[in-house]
């Protein structure tokens, strides 16, 4: 009832469907709808980020407590000490995203254009792995890539591992505890996030466009390059973002499939926060990660020219 008596502070925003100017009570409806959810996000998402910012410039110890001392040196120290992990995170995530695109595109294309009546079955097979906890599935890669397993011995007899160890992706005759294993795990874990947006985008393409290109004597490769791929760009952009962002912050694959030499920035934040209990450093590191990712994402969206996407 207070809603009915209080006048809104500014000219009334009218509901889309109403023609006449609605009464005050109605004009407040959207705000009431928004209130609980937005409050939740403000308190448990936005406010913590502000807290985090203030924590990152605090000094002190666990026993004496932390105080804000505008100690920006934490950022420099953190960057100076952990830049290898930052570079590694971005590198691993970028390679995994590229692999996801290369592997995921044919499958999305298959579901959209070639699967016919098998479409639903293939779709279920893409989504189904989600239902087994991803930690269990990541652990399964330990079995698949085991030193004495068939995959590693096959790669060895093909001299594949000689090539990868020459460029530093693997070490000796094993795959586990090397960058290759971590990238392989990252690619596997985020592949569905690439396939689903690609599929929704490809599915909307009118098949008659393919026919038209064919009628104009375009070879299949040309059709793909000039028609299909450009039209699927929004899916490519959405998919690469959905893959790159979580992959860059991930620490599970590096922990389970890598060794101490493959630690990513997520591992550092996790151990600083939960084990070392150095909250300022953990806060500074996650701020740098957040800023780096937001900057890269904004730049990428500008470059890809799909700003209407978000």
């Amino acid at each position: 009832m207070s809603a009915a008596t209080e006048a809104p502070p500014e000219p009334a925003p009218a509901p889309v469907l109403e023609v006449r100017k609605p009464p005050v009570r109605k004009r407040l409806v959207p705000y009431w709808l928004l209130l609980p959810g937005i409050l939740w996000l403000l308190v448990f998402f936005a406010a913590p980020l502000v807290y985090q910012a203030s924590t990152s410039i605090q000094t002190g110890s666990l026993e004496e407590g932390f105080k804000v001392t505008w100690h920006f040196a934490t950022y420099w120290d953190a960057l100076g000490e952990y830049w290898p992990q930052f570079v590694r995170s971005v590198l691993f995530a970028a390679v995994a995203t590229l692999l996801c695109l290369v592997l995921g595109y044919p499958l999305a294309y298959l579901i959209a254009f070639k699967a016919g009546r098998w479409r639903n079955v293939v779709m279920i097979l893409v989504i189904a792995p989600f239902f087994t906890s991803f930690l269990i599935r990541t652990l399964a890669w330990k079995t698949i890539l085991a030193d004495s397993g068939p995959v590693v011995s096959a790669l060895n007899s093909l001299h594949f591992l000689d090539v990868t160890s020459a460029i530093g992706l693997t070490e000796g005759t094993r795959v586990l505890a090397t960058p290759l294993a971590v990238v392989c795990g990252l690619t596997y874990n985020f592949l569905p996030f690439m396939i689903l947006p690609l599929y929704t985008c490809l599915e909307r393409i009118d098949p008659r466009l393919h026919e038209a290109a064919g009628d104009l004597y375009a070879k299949p490769v040309t059709t793909f390059r000039k028609v299909t791929f450009p039209l699927s760009m929004p899916g490519v952009v959405a998919g690469t973002l959905l893959t790159f962002i979580p992959a860059a912050g991930d620490y599970i694959n590096a922990e389970l499939l890598g060794s101490t030499d493959q630690k990513m920035i997520g591992n550092v934040i996790q151990s600083q926060f939960l084990r070392v209990l150095d909250y300022p450093t953990a806060a500074a590191l996650s701020f740098i990660l957040m800023a780096a990712i937001l900057a890269m994402v904004t730049l990428y969206i500008r470059k890809a020219g799909t700003e209407d996407l978000v």
Partner: protein, 261 residues
């Protein structure tokens, strides 16, 4: 050779599918393993021991129950709050609209570890005890945006004339909402709810920071990766996979039959 070239896309797609499915097959096969040591990474011999005693490991089924409980409450919370926001965004013009959109988008564009650490910092500073409630609060927070996105897309694509028609036929606003708007929005709401359930049930990173000593199922698996992986983990992973596939198939049969009749 020609055949190979013509079907290159199909072959590449199927290879990717195999890459996606392989770990699930391994999890399933190894649920019948009888490992020698504490770790279930190498095949020894066939056994159904774990299947006949899925709760035989201490704390395993307790953590599973807790995860299910949290997932149910997080789904309810996120679906209700998210649907309200989605309706406001899809149906009304108001100030601060673009800021609201940004606030909804940001949690989805943020690495989980950043959200996890900052929320834990807040709880620490406020002196709030970590446990069931902090996990639930965190899960509702990160599921919310996904519900809003799913429901908003559905409500936006709905023909506004349907509601006008209902009102022309003397339906009250409540009746219009219950008989027209809600049924049309239902698939979007259901999709958002399903997504929330899956995200909450499987979440590890945010839970790891905000759980304190409470152990959810993913936390149990994480711990066991350090201490030794019981075969029962694979049993539960396989069972969940089979139940989910059966549900999806059943749902498809059901909707298929309804469409035909």
């Amino acid at each position: 050779m020609r055949w190979l070239r013509r079907n290159a896309v199909v072959i590449a797609g199927l290879l990717t599918l195999a890459y996606l499915i392989l770990p699930n097959v391994i999890v399933m096969v190894f649920s019948f393993n009888k490992p020698n040591g504490r770790f279930n990474y190498e095949w020894q011999r066939f056994s159904t021991d774990a299947w006949s005693d899925p709760c035989g490991v201490a704390d395993l089924c307790g953590s599973l129950g807790l995860s299910l409980q949290i997932a149910v409450w997080a789904t309810i919370g996120a679906t209700v709050l998210g649907t309200l926001i989605a309706f406001a965004l899809a149906r009304y013009r108001f100030r601060a609209r673009s800021s609201v959109n940004t606030l909804i988008f940001l949690p989805m564009a943020m690495p989980e570890v950043v959200m996890a650490a900052s929320l834990a910092t807040l709880f620490l500073n406020m002196g709030i005890q970590f446990g069931f409630w902090t996990i639930l609060i965190a899960h509702i927070m990160f599921c919310l945006s996904f519900v809003v996105t799913a429901v908003k897309a559905r409500v936006m694509s709905m023909d506004p004339r349907l509601e006008q028609a209902a009102q022309d036929l003397y339906a009250s606003p409540t009746q219009t909402f219950l008989k027209v708007t809600l049924p049309i929005a239902a698939p979007g709401i259901a999709a958002g709810a399903l997504l929330s359930f899956a995200l909450s049930f499987d979440d590890f990173i945010i839970t790891n920071f905000n759980a304190g000593s409470t152990v959810t199922f993913p936390m149990f698996v994480w711990g066991s990766a350090q201490r030794g992986t019981p075969v029962q983990i694979n049993v539960i992973g396989t069972a969940m996979f089979l139940i989910a596939v059966l549900c999806v198939l059943g749902g498809q049969l059901f909707t298929g039959r309804r469409k035909r009749s």
